[in-house]
Structure formats: C-alpha cells, structure tokens
C-alpha cells in the first residue's frame, strides 16, 4: 500500500512539474523548422499582457529591446518622418503642470521631457571618475557641478549595499537564476558553459538528416540519449565525477529535474519563473523543442521524441553541478537558494564588491584586490570597502554631479538659455530639473517614440482613405477583361495596382491559401507539405499526378528522375565519407569549378543553362491534382499497386532477386500472406512460382515475417493507409463549400469576367536558408500554387457550379477559372493547367498574359527603386533583368525585401484603395459587408488572416527593433544546422526571427517598426460583437494594444478608432487623432 502511495505521489509530482513547465514555456515562442518558415510574434505567448508590459517581460527574460534605440527615433524626427506635433501628442499623458524659472525664462516639465527625447539627455552614461578628454565646456560643467553640490544628496554606501543585496535577493530565481547569480557575483561563466553544452546536445539530437554521422541512441529520447552518451564524457564542463553522477540520475527526466531543483533548493513558488529563465537562456533551441513536442505527427518527433521536460532535466543538472562547484570554491557555501540568500544577508559588503567587480565597475586596483581575495572571507573585505568609501565614493559622487551638470547645460542649449543664466539659477531649481530628467529614463522613451512614429504613418494612410471615401468614384458595372485574386501579402499590392492600370482588370485580395486547407504531395516527392496557415488544421489531401499515365514520358520522367536522385546521393556519399573526399577532391574537384564560376560570374546564364539541361534530361510532365474523392475501387487499386512495389523492393533488397525472376503471382501471393497471416489463414503460393524464384518455404516464411516487421506490410497498416487514401480529395459538398466561402469572402459573387485568375505566390532565390520566409505565409511557408490550382479546378467543375447557383452564386458558363503563381522575386506570373482552358478563351488568356507581363515589368521597376544598391531610376527592361539577376545570384543577401515595411491590414472593397499608391505596405483583404449579413466572413477574416498579418507584423517589428535578440543577425554568419534552422557562426542558439538584411538597410531600419493597423470597412456594432465573442484573440489584440483598430463606417464614410477601453472615438479629419 505504501509503495502504491509512493508511486502515486511520484506520479502526482511529475504531473505537477509538467504543468509548471507548460506555464514556464509561455515566455518562449514556438520555432518552426526553417523549410516552412512561419512568421510569428516572438512574444506571442505574452499577448495576454499589454504590449508595453510584454515588451518589459521580454527584456527581463531574454534581454531584448522592445523599441528602436532612441538615436534612430531621433533620426526619424530629424528627417521629418516623425512630426513634432505627433511627439507632443504621444508625450501629453506624461506631462505634469509644473515649471521652474531660469532667470526670467520659465522651463516647463513638458519642455524638459521633450528635450530629453529630442536631445537624448536621459541616455544613461557612465561618467568617468577622472574626465581627461578636453571639453570646451569643462569650466561651465565644473561650475554647475559645484552649484549642485549642496542640493544633490547621495545615499550612504552601506544603505546602497543593503538595497542591492535586498533587491538581488528578491530577484533571485524570479529574474535571476542561480547560475546567473554566480556569473554576476563570482565572474564565472556558468550560463555560457551550460549553453554550450545544450547547443552541443540539441544540435546532435535534433538533427534532421543533415549530419553524416548521427548521434547514437536517439530513439531513447533527448534525456535518455544524453544520459547514455554524456556518461562517457571525460569531464563535462569540468564537473568532478560527471560520468558517475550522470549514471546515477533517475531514468525519468521529470524525476531528474525534480532532484536537481531540490538540490538547488528552488522554492516551490519560484519554480515556474526559474524554469522560464532557464528556457529563455536559449530561446531558439527551446522554442524548437516546444514546437516539436506539440507536433505529435511530425515524423522526426515520432522517431526521436524531445520535450521541454527532457531539455530542462539536462540543463538544470548542469546548473546544479556548476553552481554547487562555484559556490563551494569561491564562497565555501552550498550552491542552494537559501545558502545564497544567507550569504547576501550576512556578507553584504563582500557581495557588493564582488558584484561591482564582475560588472567592471571597480577601479582597476580595487578589481585586482577583489580578485586576490576572491577565494577568501573575512576582515579584508571590510577593509577594502572602507577604503573604497573613502577614496572612490567621493569621486563617484563628483562624477555624478558632473554628469547632471553636463545634461543641464545641454538642456539649456537646446532651450536657448544662456549659460550664465543657467549658472545663476537657484540650485534647488536646477535639482528639480535634474529630478525630472532622472524620472524619465530612456527606458520609458520607447513607447512615446513608437506612438509618435505610428501616428505619423496612420495620419497619412487614413488621410488617403478619407479622401477616397469623400470623392468615391462610381463603381464600374462593365464586364472586366479579367478578375484576379491575389494573396493579401503586401507584395501583391503594387502588382495589383499596376495590373489594374494596364487594362480593365479587377483584382481582389484573399489569404493565399484560397480557403483550401490541404495537405499536398507534389509529384515525385516523398513528403507532404501543409498548405494552410499554421493556426489551422487540414482534413483533405491532394496529390499531384501526371495527367496521363499512358504517356511514354511518364516512365521516362520517372526513370531519369531516379538517375538524377541516384547521382545526387552518390555525390553526397562521396563527399561525406571518411576516405573518399581525399580522392574525390583530386578527381572531381575541378568539376565543381563550373558551378562556382557559373553562379558567380554569369548567374542568369548559368541558371538558364542548368534549367535547360534539367529539362533535357528529365522531361517535364503535364500534371493535375486529385481534387475529387477516390472511389473505393480506385483506393484499393492504388493501395495494391503500392504494396506490390514494396514487395518487389523487399525481394530485391532482402534476397537479391532480379526483376526477371519476380512474377506478379509471387508478389500477389506474398502480399496476401503478409496481410492475412495475422488471422491465421495462410494463403498458399503456387509451388511453381516459388521454384522459379529459387526460394525455399523457409526463406519464404522468413521473408513474409520481414515484410511485416521491416516493411510494415500488415493488415493494420494497410487499413491505416487506406483510411489516409480516403482523405485524398474533396467530396462535392466540400468543394461547393470551399468555393462558396472563398468567393463570398473576397466579395466576388457577381459580374464574373470571362477569366478569373487565382494567383498564388512563391519566390526564387539561391543559397538562402530563409527561402521559405519569402513564400506564402498563409500556405504554411510554402508556394501557394497547389491551393490556387485546387480552387480553380473546383470552380471550373460543372457540378460545383450547379450547386453554387442554388445558393445564389451564378457563375456564367463562359467564365473560366485559372490558377497562377507570382514569383515575388522576379514578379513573373506563371499560369497553370492551361490544358483545361476552353479554346474559346485563348485570346483572353493571351491578352491576360500580355497585361500580366506588363504589370510585372512596372512592379519590378517600382521595387528596384527600393533596393539600396540602385541609386538611380531604371528602365522597365533593366528592372526586369535586375530582379532576375537578384533571384539567381547566390551571393545576394537580399533577393527581395519580402514583407518588410508592412504596416496595415485593410479589410474593405477594392474600390476604397483602387489607384492609391500604398507602397507595398498594406495587406489588402477584399470584403464587402453587404455580402456578409451574418458577420461570419468578417469573423473568419479577423481571426484568421488578421492573426497571420499580426504575426508577420510582429516578426518584422521585433526583428527590426532588436535584431540580435529577436532577429537572427547578419546572414553573413549564418550556418544551417540540422536542416531545421540556422546558427550564427559554428556555435550559437538557434536564431529566431528575420535576418538583419531583411529588415535593415545598413544601420537604419528599412522596416519601420510599427504595430499593425487594422482598418475594417464595416459597421462598428458588428465589430464590437465579434470582439466580445472572440475575447481571447481580438481583445488581446485591441485592448492590449498589439494591434490598432480603425473602423470605416460604410454608410457615413467616417473613420473611428477603437480604444483599449473598448470605446470608439471619431478620428478628427484635420489632426488625424
């Protein structure tokens, strides 16, 4: 009974721990593998907090800045991008009605704050103890500092020491791990040591077929594999007897983690924060593990399970051992929470000096002395502090006064106050001004600057829209040449504008997955791609198949593709083998010179040449998609064919049989036996077949067993596979629902043109691990053409049209739906499935293609103007050549700007924005509230596409404001790791976010970091209802100020701003506020 209680108790503790870890993991964002890069908010888990508070938390946990450095905002102010009135508006809530008089000149609190912002007066600067750099104002500064002498008071050192010790005690395990504490106090590098270990193990364990030699024992799980290997390390991080200690760890990671936390003495109420801190030490790797742990169907996760519990069990073990070692060595105390707290209380002087030393704040001689005493205790520490108090503190205080004087002088200059007047001002007034400045530290400037920056842009955009509503052009009723639907992606906006300008084409915006939630397998690929936003799930699968299996080209294509694959594999194996590279370099090395020179010197030509050779060797195939559900018979046939192929492979691999000796009857017999053996009714195989193959009954039985075990050929797996095959395609009802939803959401329900193009988007770049970041976010970071093809095929189906007509969408018989894909790097639009277009539409298609080409050239020309390496205007032809070259240049770190500079999400009819130059900064989603009486479509848009847009916006925002922490740094140092992400250099955390070159133009941001502005052309009460209904998503967005919401009242044509308090405020037409 006792053991039962004990095991229940253990299980309860494990469950509790898992719960704590789940909560602790909230502070880190999930990290998707880079091949399906998903833009996301790095502080997504903190969206339940107001934006400013979340930013503060991000700073505390990860050390990331949530706003641009002030000098960049000041540069915006200088350039006119931020208007002074917007700055005043943003500052107004902080200004107090106070003033001091300087001579005859009153100085208001507001003026001081404003000058702090514009002149950077509150930038914390360490004033040197002995200023030696010649300064022409030194005399004035010294004079002012002397005047401040009487009014500036400083707390006693002892008080300060006590306050620091108390503050750190309160922060311990909340904002400061014990490892950090050791580093900050003893000058150790425990956090770095642990990070190095964790990077090493995570890199090896999480590898996805990138490493040639993989980590052994990965099937045991992250913790098990680590335990099995780390035990053999000679001396892990210098931990004494590390092997022995690791071997004695419990088998369950939960137990190991609990044991380590008990050893560190982490109080129960602090465990969640403590574990959060441990996770944020490596947010990249931890974020990826968090993602993987939640993706149970992910093949790598199934094969080699990883989770945050396991990650933390390893990490905290290192922390426990290293903290213990450091505390014993330096302080002769236990490496436990309560021992550390007791040390800070009992020896505050020593603690203070050690901390100052580790932070580099002690004069060099004192630093030496602290180093000398670092392993001792006792009176010597008090002696140093006494000397420090006598020698250094007065100099420190003088330096602080000089700093204050310097700031006062800068303030006076900015306010045009003469220096003598300032010097004559009463010291108390001077002190008051200094206090105002100190009460407005630079940390508080970010929100003010951000609001001012946003206000400027919003005023301009809303002004454009207001002008358009006031002078609305009558909507055209004539049938357009074509209608085309583009992804809401900001890159579609210029293209749409240019296409509309070259002919009578109508365009629409819709999330690029086109309401087709599909899992897609391209021809010849072994894995599916998930073609929908990551916040959704798919029910249907679609395969790309050849249009005709009877065609000779199919077998030729398959055979040649196989050869190419074999060639690649061979080269790869030769490169990665232990011995062969030595020979290979000599014999084949020169061959690699061709691509190196080709790609470097003539990238476009090289790309054309290789594409031509590829086409020549592997002929392209006309393909279609499996849109309709398979019939039962077809499913069975498909399954049978696949199983036959497996058996043939097994016969070849296991018994070395050549194709000529493998008969269909033998294969079928084996299949039957493998599938029915479980039921006990063995299928007999004709003796002649067995004999012809040269097999014995024993061999046959063994092979059947192998087929079941190794090749997974069992009745159960067959059933599973069959069930999966039945998910292929859509039923008629599903197709009707998909097309109906899509057309209604985009507002395309009448006046159909002869051609309707669903235009997805993808990109082309070389040597770019972030390639998928340029693809369609709504399609899970993949190219969107499968979705466009699916929707076009469905919409062209006569049966679907008949059903749609019954629900009020009458598609004319001469309307044909086309699928296309825009390459956002080259702006070229490629059309798909033209074989299905009726001959009557050839002229229409030709005209559309011409106009698309023209629009492409205009778009390229416009985009070229934004590249920093193009100084002057370019012609359309040059622009086309230039963008093409960028897409093939393997040294190009910025093939395109991607979604950079996105700012807003506009949910409205195209009439509102048609002809407006929105500079490729706005997500445009077509929506007509009149088509949505139930509010259902708006609900979908706000909770789907808007969320995606907000993720994209926040990814760019944080990558721009602090690229080192929230972004991924410079591409120059990127190294692909494990085929799942990138590291900076050979050894780093998995880098989050976007590369520096994606958001920055040199040292200044190309992407202006602002929060998303959502503008909805719909009645306010409808929006209110949705906000009330979706409190978790929309309330967090709008009430916590992650997203700004503006409604355009369709009937009144008036703009209203949604306040965090839930009120609507009319936006003033003049001030824009």
């Amino acid at each position: 009974m006792e053991s039962l209680d004990s095991s229940m108790n253990i299980e309860t503790r494990r469950m509790e721990l898992r719960g704590v870890i789940r909560l602790a993991g909230e502070v880190i964002a999930q990290y998707w593998p880079m091949r399906t890069f998903v833009h996301h908010n790095p502080l997504h888990s903190l969206e339940y907090l107001p934006f400013e508070e979340a930013v503060r938390r991000g700073n505390q946990f990860m050390g990331g800045n949530g706003y641009l450095p002030s000098h960049m905002y000041r540069a915006y102010l200088k350039s006119g991008r931020i208007q002074p009135r917007h700055l005043d508006g943003a500052l107004s809530s902080l200004v107090q009605n106070k003033r001091v008089v300087c001579g005859s000149r009153p100085i208001t609190h507001g003026e001081v704050l404003r000058t702090c912002l514009t002149e950077g007066l509150c930038t914390p600067v360490i004033e040197p103890l002995d200023s030696q750099l010649h300064d022409s104002s030194q005399g004035l500064i010294d004079h002012l500092a002397t005047r401040l002498n009487s009014v500036m008071t400083f707390p006693d050192v002892q008080e300060r020491v006590r306050a620091i010790a108390e503050g750190d005690e309160a922060a311990l395990c909340r904002w400061l791990t014990l490892s950090h504490w050791c580093d900050d106090t003893l000058g150790t590098e425990i956090v770095q040591q642990i990070n190095d270990q964790m990077i090493k193990w995570c890199e090896a364990y999480l590898d996805e077929a990138h490493a040639t030699w993989t980590m052994p024992g990965r099937e045991k799980g992250l913790y098990g594999a680590w335990k099995a290997l780390a035990v053999h390390e000679w001396s892990s991080c210098g931990i004494v007897d590390s092997g022995k200690k690791i071997s004695q760890l419990p088998d369950h990671p939960e137990d190991a983690l609990l044991e380590s936390m008990d050893a560190l003495g982490i109080p129960a109420e602090l465990r969640q924060d403590y574990l959060s801190l441990q996770l944020t030490a490596l947010p990249g790797w931890a974020g990826f593990i968090k993602w993987r742990a939640e993706e149970r169907d992910y093949p790598w996760q199934q094969a080699y399970p990883a989770g945050l519990v396991k990650f933390l069990a390893i990490r905290v073990w290192y922390a426990r051992e290293l903290v213990q070692q450091a505390c014993k060595d330096y302080l002769d105390i236990d490496g436990r929470y309560e021992a550390v707290v007791a040390y800070m209380r009992e020896y505050p002087d020593e603690y203070y000096l050690r901390r100052q030393r580790a932070a580099g704040r002690l004069p060099a001689l004192y630093a030496e002395e602290v180093d000398r005493l670092s392993h001792r205790k006792g009176q010597s520490w008090n002696n140093i502090l006494t000397r420090y108090r006598a020698e250094v503190i007065p100099r420190l205080q003088a330096a602080v006064r000089r700093g204050a004087a310097r700031r006062l002088l800068a303030l006076a200059r900015s306010l045009n106050i003469e220096a003598p007047v300032l010097i004559e001002t009463a010291p108390a007034d001077l002190k008051q001004v200094v206090d105002w400045m100190e009460a407005f530290p630079e940390l508080d400037h970010g929100p003010v600057w951000l609001k001012a920056l946003e206000a400027g842009y919003q005023e301009q955009l809303l002004g454009q829209l207001r002008a358009r509503t006031e002078n609305a052009a009558p909507s055209e009723t004539a049938r357009p040449y074509s209608q085309s639907v583009y992804c809401i992606d900001v890159r579609s906006e210029p293209f749409r504008r240019h296409l509309e300008s070259v002919g009578h084409h109508e365009t629409y915006g819709f999330a690029g997955f086109f309401a087709a939630f599909i899992r897609y397998r391209a021809l010849g690929k072994a894995h599916d791609t998930e073609q929908f936003p990551v916040i959704m799930r798919a029910k249907n699968e679609v395969w790309e198949i050849p249009r005709s299996y009877g065609d000779q080209t199919v077998s030729l294509h398959a055979a040649r593709a196989k050869w190419v694959h074999a060639g690649h594999t061979l080269l790869h194996d030769l490169k990665e083998n232990v011995v062969t590279p030595y020979v290979m370099v000599e014999s084949l090395g020169w061959f690699y010179g061709l691509p190196i020179f080709g790609k470097t010197l003539v990238p476009v030509l090289y790309q054309r040449l290789t594409a031509w050779l590829r086409r020549l060797f592997v002929p392209s195939l006309a393909t279609t998609l499996t849109i309709d559900k398979l019939a039962l018979r077809e499913t069975a046939e498909m399954l049978e064919t696949e199983q036959h192929a497996v058996i043939r492979r097994a016969l070849h691999e296991q018994l070395g049989l050549r194709s000529s000796r493998i008969t269909s009857a033998l294969v079928e017999g084996l299949r039957q036996r493998a599938l029915t053996v479980e039921t006990g009714q063995e299928t007999q195989i004709a003796a002649g077949e067995i004999e012809r193959a040269g097999l014995t009954p024993e061999t046959l039985n063994a092979l059947v067993e192998t087929l079941r075990r190794q090749y997974d050929l069992t009745a159960r797996s067959a059933s599973r596979h069959k069930e999966r095959l039945t998910r292929t395609g859509f039923t008629l009802e599903e197709q009707v629902l998909t097309v109906d939803t899509a057309l209604r959401m985009m507002g395309l329900t009448k006046n159909f043109a002869r051609l309707v193009l669903f235009c997805a988007h993808g990109s082309t770049s070389d040597n770019n691990p972030f390639e998928s970041a340029l693809d369609c976010g709504a399609c899970g970071g993949n190219e969107g053409n499968p979705n466009a093809r699916v929707l076009a095929m469905m919409a062209n189906s006569q049966k679907v049209r008949e059903q749609l007509a019954k629900v009020g969408i009458d598609i004319p018989s001469d309307t044909h739906f086309l699928a296309g894909q825009m390459d956002t790097t080259t702006d070229v639009v490629r059309l798909f499935d033209l074989e299905d277009a009726p001959p009557t539409h050839r002229a229409d298609i030709a005209r559309l293609q011409e106009d698309l080409k023209e629009a492409s050239a205009f778009t390229s020309q416009e985009r070229c103007m934004r590249f920093p390496d193009i100084q002057q205007g370019v012609t359309e032809t040059d622009a086309v050549t230039h963008v093409r070259k960028r897409s093939t240049d393997w040294s190009q770190v910025r093939p395109e700007w991607g979604l950079s500079n996105n700012t807003s999400f506009l949910i409205a009819r195209r009439e509102l924005t048609k002809g407006l130059d929105l500079e490729g900064r706005v997500f445009l989603h077509s929506y007509d509230y009149r088509e949505d009486p139930s509010n259902r479509l708006l609900e979908v848009i706000l909770t789907g596409p808007q969320v995606v847009a907000q993720w994209i916006n926040m990814e760019h925002y944080f990558s721009a404001v602090d690229n080192d922490v929230y972004g991924s740094g410079s591409k120059i140092y990127h190294n692909v790791v494990g085929r799942l992400g990138i590291m900076s250099g050979p050894w780093s955390d998995l880098r989050l976010g976007l590369a520096r070159q994606t958001v920055m133009n040199g040292d200044v941001p190309y992407h202006e970091p602002m929060r998303l502005l959502t503008i909805v052309a719909a009645p306010r009460e409808r929006i209110d209802k949705l906000i009330a209904r979706h409190h978790d998503v929309l309330k967090h967005f709008y009430h916590n100020e992650w997203v700004h919401l503006v409604a355009l009242e369709p009937e009144e044509g008036i703009l209203y701003r949604y306040r965090p308090t839930g009120e609507w405020v009319r936006i003033d037409a003049v001030t824009g506020s």
Partner: protein, 436 residues
C-alpha cells in the same frame, strides 16, 4: 673638449633644458604639452644633425632616433590634462638622460643610469598604493639596479662586469628582476610608461653590447635557461592578466626573454636582434598609447572588462589598434617579425627546447593579444559608454608608431649597424680571465 664630448652633452641638454623651461608654463597644461612635443622634435632634429659625428653610441643611430620619436608620440597621444603634467616633464627629463647614456662615455653613462634608476625608484615609491603591494618589488629591483650601477662605476672587474650585467637585467627585463619593469609600466603616471618601455630596454641593450662578450660561459648558460623560463613565465602570466598594462608588461617580458636567450647563445648583438628589440619596444609603446586613448575617455582607473564594442564607434582607433596588435603578435611586415626571423636565421639553433619555448611564447602571444583586442573592440555596444574616436593628436601619435614599426620591418637591417667596442671588450675579457 672633443666633438664627441660636446655632442654627448648637447644631445641630453636639449630635452633636459626643455624640461626645466616647461615649468614656466606649468599652470597651462595645453601649452606645456605643446612645448614638450616641440622639445622632442628639437631633440630629434639635434640627433639627426649630430648623428654623423657620434662615436660613443655603440647601438648605432637607430635607438637615438627612436627615443625622441617615441617620446614625442607618447606626449602627443596624451590628453592635455593637468594630472599628466608631471609625466610630460619626466618624459623630457628621461629622454635627456637616455640620450646622455647612449652617447656618453662609460662612467658618465653609468652615473646617468644610476640617476635614472634612482628617479624611477623614487617615483614608484611616490605613486605607491597599498592596494598594489607588488610595487615594493619594483622599488627594490630598481633600487638594486641603481646601486649596481653605482657599484659598476666604482668597482673593478669582475665585480663591475657582474654589476653591469645585473643592471642590464633590470633595464632589459629578465626573470627574476622583471618586477621593476612591470611595476614601472603599471604604476608610473600618464604617458611615461609608453616611453620608458623603449627607453629602459634601449639603455639595457646599450650596456649589454659591452657586457655580453665578456660574460663567463657559466653565466651565459644560466642566462639561457633563465631566459627560456622567462619566456614561458611571461606568456603564462600574460595569459592570466585582465589588466592591459600588466598583460603588455608580461607579454613583452616574454619576448625580451627571447632576446636575452639569443644574446646569451650568440654572445653578440646583431642588427637583426636590434631590430627585434626596437620593434618590440616601440610596438609595446604603441599598445600602451592605445590603452591611454581608452583611459583618457573612461578614466585612469577603468577596468578593461567594462570596455567593449569600440569597433563601430571608434573605427580609426580600431584599425590602428588592430594593426599594432598584429605587429605585437609578430606578423609580417612589421619589425617584430622581421627581427625575430632575422635573429633565427643568424643563429645556429641547436636546442629543440628553445625552439619549442619560442613557439609557445609566440602562440601564447597570438592568444592573449587577440583576446585583448577582441574584448575591447567587439561585443555588443554599451549604451552607457560615451564613444569618441581618435582626436587628431592621438591619431598622429599612433600613426607615427605604426610607421616606425613598418619601417623597422621593411628597411634593410644593415641600416641599423651596431658598433661593437672591441678594445673595451677585450679589456674586460682579460679582466675576467680568472674565471676560466
């Protein structure tokens, strides 16, 4: 009086009188600094003008040129701040003494060495801080050096020869008498360390040229072993330092020990060895000046660990500092490399251990110097540090040093000929013949 005597009086007189006159503008730091620089220029001109008529300078004209050049550069790079005034006057005074020692007759020179070491001892005591008890070692070592110099003046051989050797080991640091050198680099004020890092080894070399041929075999064997140990010791100590001046002190000790090893093995000083020593001293001086640039901005007491991320905001400093660091690591085309390779090529290297030790010292130097450069220049910029790139005078001073080190690296070493005093050496040899 002969020309040589007049010259040996005139050359030191220029800076010494300059130092005296400097007190006239003592209350105006900027003027005093300008005056000091002018005096070093005058001194350099006087050296250039009279170098053809010098007969007493055994080390040839190279060091005579380098002394005022380095003194001028160190003064130029110093901030015009009142707390540096004494260091400027002392620089001029020491320059005068140095020129006097290098150009005068033996006895006068030895008296001058005694005065110089006595002054350094005094100022080490003056700037002694209880938090830095090791400076007592320095005071003792220089005191010993001063006494030894006096002894060498009054005693007869072989005592005078051994006393001279001891003085050489104090001036041109050799284990275990290196503490004086390290203390002087660490404790002396302002721009002075950047000058004496050349001055003291130069005077040491000057004496060594005379002494080394006369040293008994047993002594040279001992020096060989001590020098190798010193090279290792200096490297290890440099690796363990966090303070820049200590790191440079121990690092240069390691390289000076290599020089000692070479001198002991070959029992002569070749022009290549002279280039090595001069380049090493000048480049160390340059690095000390670079560190002075940092101290000027962040205070004399700044902890190097607190200074990071200079690369973006101080590009000129970064370039010059990096080049000097490369020179100090012994990379071509700088003088340290040329001198070292020249030394190796002119020596019959018979000891594998010696080669190994030199390799270790060399590799260690690339470790600790690069580490220092990396720590100061790279890392995340600190928002609370006020960054300001080199001012014109600082830029000029570092450029001068860099050009000197390049010139030493690329100029033919035959230009830097050394005058061996055979008669004197023979006399001393005869005097110590009892030892054989």
């Amino acid at each position: 009086m002969t020309d040589a005597v007049i010259i040996s009086l005139l050359l030191p007189a220029v800076p010494i009188i300059g130092a005296m006159l400097g007190f006239l503008v003592w209350s105006q730091p900027e003027k005093l600094k300008i005056w000091s620089v002018v005096v070093t220029v005058l001194s350099l001109l006087s050296v250039i003008g009279m170098s053809g008529r010098l007969t007493g300078a055994t080390v040839g004209p190279l060091l005579l040129y380098l002394l005022p050049l380095t003194a001028g550069a160190s003064l130029l790079g110093a901030p015009a701040h009142q707390q540096h005034r004494l260091s400027w006057v002392l620089t001029l005074l020491f320059l005068g003494l140095g020129l006097g020692i290098l150009t005068s007759q033996q006895i006068v020179g030895q008296i001058a060495v005694m005065v110089l070491l006595g002054l350094i001892t005094f100022f080490l005591y003056w700037y002694h801080n209880p938090l830095w008890p090791r400076s007592w070692w320095g005071i003792c070592v220089y005191g010993l050096g001063s006494l030894s110099s006096g002894l060498a003046t009054i005693a007869s051989p072989p005592v005078s020869a051994m006393a001279s050797l001891l003085v050489c080991a104090v001036l041109l640091p050799l284990l275990p008498l290196h503490q004086g050198y390290v203390s002087a680099l660490t404790r002396l004020p302002g721009s002075l360390p950047a000058f004496i890092v050349l001055l003291l080894p130069a005077i040491g070399l000057h004496s060594l040229i005379t002494v080394i041929p006369t040293v008994p075999d047993v002594a040279t064997s001992t020096i060989t072993i001590v020098a190798l140990i010193g090279a290792l010791y200096g490297s290890i100590k440099a690796l363990a330092q966090s303070r820049v001046r200590l790191l440079l002190g121990y690092g240069s000790l390691s390289f000076f020990s290599i020089f000692w090893w070479f001198a002991a093995v070959s029992r002569t000083i070749t022009p290549q060895a002279l280039v090595f020593l001069a380049a090493l001293a000048v480049v160390t001086s340059g690095l000390l000046m670079s560190w002075q640039v940092v101290r000027t901005r962040y205070g004399d007491d700044v902890d190097p660990q607190a200074i990071i991320g200079l690369v973006k905001k101080m590009p000129q400093f970064t370039v010059l500092f990096s080049l000097l660091a490369l020179a100090a690591m012994g990379l071509p085309p700088f003088g340290v490399f040329t001198g070292f390779i020249g030394m190796l090529l002119t020596t019959a290297l018979t000891s594998f251990v010696a080669l190994l030790v030199m390799m270790i010292a060399w590799l260690a130097a690339s470790w600790y110097i690069l580490d220092m450069v990396q720590r100061l220049l790279f890392g995340r910029e600190r928002s609370d540090l006020r960054y300001e790139d080199l001012r014109r005078s600082e830029l000029a001073s570092l450029l001068v040093i860099l050009l000197i080190v390049i010139a030493l690296g690329i100029a033919p070493s035959s230009l830097f000929g050394i005058t061996q005093p055979p008669s004197n050496a023979e006399a001393v040899k005869e005097a110590v013949s009892w030892n054989r």
